[in-house]
Symmetry: C2
Amino acid sequence: MASKNQLKLIRALGQKKYRKQYGQYLVQGEKNVLELLVAGIKLDALFATPQFIEQNQSALKHIDVIETQEEELTKVSTLVSNNAAIAIVPIPEEAKIDLSGWVLALDGVSDPGNLGTIIRVADWYGFKQIVLSETCADQFNPKTISATMGSFVRVNSLRTNLHGLLSHYNGPVYGAFLNGENVHRTVFTDKGVLVMGSESHGISPEIEALVTHKITIPAFGGAESLNVAMATGIIVDNIKRHS
Amino acid sequence: MASKNQLKLIRALGQKKYRKQYGQYLVQGEKNVLELLVAGIKLDALFATPQFIEQNQSALKHIDVIETQEEELTKVSTLVSNNAAIAIVPIPEEAKIDLSGWVLALDGVSDPGNLGTIIRVADWYGFKQIVLSETCADQFNPKTISATMGSFVRVNSLRTNLHGLLSHYNGPVYGAFLNGENVHRTVFTDKGVLVMGSESHGISPEIEALVTHKITIPAFGGAESLNVAMATGIIVDNIKRHS
């Protein structure tokens, strides 16, 4: 059974300041917790319902699980449903940014759900890293982790001074704008950086100054814009179709 | 000022049974209400804050607006924020389905937010109609309308017996599966139907039997699947890049 202090900790880790203070984050829900176990990522604690433990015996073989009723987990979870398991995971040391291949960089994507959806589509297309400006949503926000549908175990999100990073980068920097070159006609290079901007303001002026290729998804109808996660998926598909 | 009965009606229209009973639906939030006014769609009632009325005088010129405080609107709205305006709109008579060009058909897309996001991306790519199976989410659900970001005024969602419709269709029927032809290599015809399946079960067996071309977005990484709205956007982009 989970102790009161453990349940209190879970509840606290829903908030960024406690994630920072304790160096831990939450992974909630069946799919995401199973991805964590399959990936062999070190856990600080795992709480799960008797049913979850019963159904996933082999994945849980070498793990200490704290059996907890679903009602208890739902009380402290940030999710409304799907609380068969909650893991407390240490926030990893940040890996070094690898600029040798294609790099996806986000400039001020502030919605946690959008960030998670972008991590999922980046994983689909084989990206191992995403670079985040300091103005992006927290990659350890529970809504972000949930929206990745397990892809957070395969894609490292690396928060950095994006302007500093791109200032020292010699390859092409593609940026998504509403008035760039038609992405269907763009001949993408073998490597480069793709920058996607914030939901409300797009790419910031200081990053825009470092973009070498402005690109656009051509519009055929009346919508003014696309959601940033959708736009990311479509542009990455255009990049990868030639590889 | 809005009357008690009017506020009660707004609250009721958050539910499908009352939308059906009264033949009306809600459009909430600044962006969506403005799109409605610009499109000249007939309203049954419009409630708006003094600020909204002040800021949109020209759009509101020939409209009777019921001035209402934001707190009142928030109380009866299904949205947590962004309640500067709420319109009550008559559910239109269903238009006839036009199968002469490219048609997007959804088979059991049950999440209202996904449906709205699909309507938005369909609008971006110039689709005027989307065909919905009877198992899809309600296109007049407030979450759907919100997620369209105004595109609901340009894209007609037409609910029908999808199996019956496709049984009498002579053109190519493309369907998204996890084991179809690579969409990057597919040579799309000038017209056809694209079927996207449900979030959890994909395309149903009875519709699968009518699909003439199974297609797939190629995976380069570890994610098991893409969100259905994301997948729709990516496939439609592949269709439209040749047009």
